[in-house]
Symmetry: C2
């Protein structure tokens, strides 16, 4: 597996083949990879919404500045953050560590306290920004995983999150949409797929000191 070759193969797919579907196995890899994304403190205050149903996706096109990828892709991935982070999120997380690793409370409690205090010291906007950072890490991870698996994707920030939240009833789930990643297979006539990749010369992007 030549990772550089796969990253060069990847591009922001402008037109998906509406008839090609991801296999269950591919979709499982993507969702597992999302759950394995590194997040700050391991707290995982992000969620992935996977939408296959095209009827449900139809009204999302307008909320995405008419970018048809959200409808034509095999699946639409919506990366969401929790609307807020509560003490119970931290407590549940540490209980999970205790269950999985059998770590004694005496070791875990001080870390749990520190994390609760850290979260309480932030404003709700800061907590949302903190979660949004994790959403971008997940996006970076998923684009690379898709490239490795020969799955096309298109990262999208250009959409109306409040419209998405309304249409997908994300408020009821305590979530806010922050990033989109339609996934599937490129259309044969997507002219963007044959354009040369534009990047800075490596010695401008990377500085060795």
């Amino acid at each position: 597996m030549d990772i550089i070759k796969q990253l060069e193969w990847r591009y922001a797919t402008k037109k998906f083949d509406a008839n090609k579907k991801l296999s269950k196995a591919k979709l499982n890899i993507i969702t597992e990879a999302f759950n394995l994304t590194a997040t700050s403190f391991g707290l995982q205050t992000i969620k992935l919404i996977v939408i296959e149903d095209k009827k449900l996706r139809e009204p999302l096109v307008e909320a995405s500045y008419n970018q048809k990828q959200v409808l034509d892709a095999s699946h639409l991935l919506v990366i969401c953050i929790q609307r807020d982070i509560e003490d119970t999120d931290v407590i549940t997380y540490y209980n999970n560590i205790k269950t999985i690793r059998n770590t004694p409370d005496t070791i875990l409690k001080p870390y749990q306290e520190d994390l609760i205090n850290m979260m309480q010291s932030k404003s709700i906007a800061e907590r949302q920004q903190w979660s949004t950072n994790q959403a971008y890490i997940a996006l970076g991870n998923l684009m690379t995983v898709c490239a490795i698996e020969g799955v096309d994707s298109c990262p999208m920030e250009g959409f109306l999150p409040t419209k998405y939240d309304e249409i997908l009833k994300l408020d009821e789930k305590g979530l806010k949409s922050v990033l989109l990643l339609p996934v599937g297979y490129r259309a044969e006539d997507d002219m963007f797929s044959i354009l040369k990749k534009v990047r800075k010369p490596i010695n401008e992007a990377v500085i060795k000191i």
Copy 2:
């Protein structure tokens, strides 16, 4: 290549083997992968600083809350953002597209104008946040690329960026440090390497609708 196996193998390395170095080939893969990271509009307002010299890294330990990974790792990667985004950044980018793809000015100019206007409409803090989002995408990409290549890494937000900027003279380069990623090989006695991974049950992290 089983990507899930590699993502499960990855962990935030707490102790690196100070005697193990990355080969030039591995380092090249990592730097190329950084340059291939998808960024919003393709503008690449982030840079990667690669530090091998241990003398230079010694004063960084204190600026990293004494986390020894920044010194013991084979290389320390510092992901930076540009302090600001100027019109010339956008113009240089579109000139680069023109050179690489031979796209006519009549097609490129309106997009160039739009992007300049979009950037000018933001505050400097907003432009920095915009670039920081791209830094997180790069972090997500690089952690996955390292995992695929059997390279250990440790994502770090916990450091003093202003101290880093001072020590590494980033101000002179028009840069600000935002994220660290020491890379190398785990020490045999890093007890964290054998701990079970803690993640939410997949049906809590991923919602299919």
